[in-house]
């Protein structure tokens, strides 16, 4: 990967580009690296609570989606073997 733009929405007051995606550029992506990147994503997001979902649930789902989408983009099912992060 030389460039990666990951836009997350419903995790803040506007759609956000994940800075954590930068951790996945120009490196060999391993499950451990992806896990670190998704933890960094969870740290940078500050989602809100509402009747749809709690902040912690939104943060968790963002991590799951990051792993799934990178796995899908690279066609590397091994990166998402656990189904969650």
């Amino acid at each position: 990967l030389t460039a990666l733009r990951m836009a997350f929405f419903a995790v803040g007051d506007r759609p956000l580009l994940a800075k954590a995606a930068g951790r996945l550029l120009n490196v060999t992506i391993t499950p451990a690296l992806l896990s670190k990147a998704s933890t960094a994503l969870a740290d940078e997001l500050d989602p809100h609570d509402d009747q749809q979902a709690s902040a912690s649930m939104r943060r968790h789902l963002a991590k799951v989606l990051m792993a799934r989408s990178v796995s899908a983009l690279l066609r590397r099912p091994d990166l998402n073997a656990g189904g969650a992060v």
Partner: protein
């Protein structure tokens, strides 16, 4: 409930719409596909004195590819995006994401410009614009401005939130600008994917 009484004007051009908006200021709202504005009016969350309908402004319609730029008119409906072969070829992220926007009745009327102006933080299309690194072109009394998607969403939020902690998107329709066109550069060798979680989705784009 029904909306409070309001006046209605059908703009004949972008210039005409801008004149109407300038003359009426915050008391006027722009009507595009009406899929957010009309429900909000019916619930009396907003009560504009004048509705400026831009639905007949032909210059705001259409999808075009010129060189490496894909240009989408603000009045392009969701269903037009969904069915467009140009979009499927050059911005497949949009084709995928649109299928998850509301339901067919809304997609038959709702427009890209309306969705971006409404700027719901949980909406697909503003996030897609961000992932695609689109440029939003807006027209105002002071002329035309080109705004990067990231800055556009930040501006939308500021416009929407005179009161702190106000997450409701319904106040943001006081924009006195008209979204004219949004365009996306078309980087070569790009793959996109979009995933959903529960009832929310997240698009992403990657370049190899």
């Amino acid at each position: 409930m029904k909306a409070s009484a309001f006046s209605y004007a059908r703009a004949t051009s972008v210039m005409n719409a801008l004149e109407l908006l300038a003359a009426h200021g915050d008391k006027a709202k722009v009507l595009s596909g009406g899929q957010s504005l009309i429900p909000a009016m019916n619930l009396r969350l907003i009560s504009p004195e004048l509705v400026v309908d831009i639905g007949g402004v032909a210059e705001l319609r259409g999808i075009a590819v010129r060189g490496d730029v894909l240009t989408i008119g603000a009045l392009t409906r969701h269903v037009d995006l969904l069915k467009s072969s140009e979009i499927a070829e050059h911005a497949p992220l949009l084709t995928e994401a649109i299928a998850h926007v509301a339901h067919p009745a809304v997609r038959n009327k709702g427009t890209l410009g309306g969705s971006l102006a409404h700027a719901d933080p949980a909406a697909e299309l503003p996030a897609c614009m961000l992932a695609l690194n689109a440029t939003i072109i807006v027209s105002g009394q002071s002329g035309e401005r080109r705004i990067a998607a990231e800055d556009f969403s930040r501006e939308s939020m500021r416009r929407r939130c005179p009161r702190k902690n106000c997450l409701s998107p319904l106040n943001c329709m006081s924009h006195n600008k008209i979204l004219r066109i949004s365009s996306a550069n078309l980087p070569g060798g790009t793959a996109t994917t979009r995933l959903r979680a529960w009832r929310r989705r997240r698009p992403s784009e990657a370049r190899f």
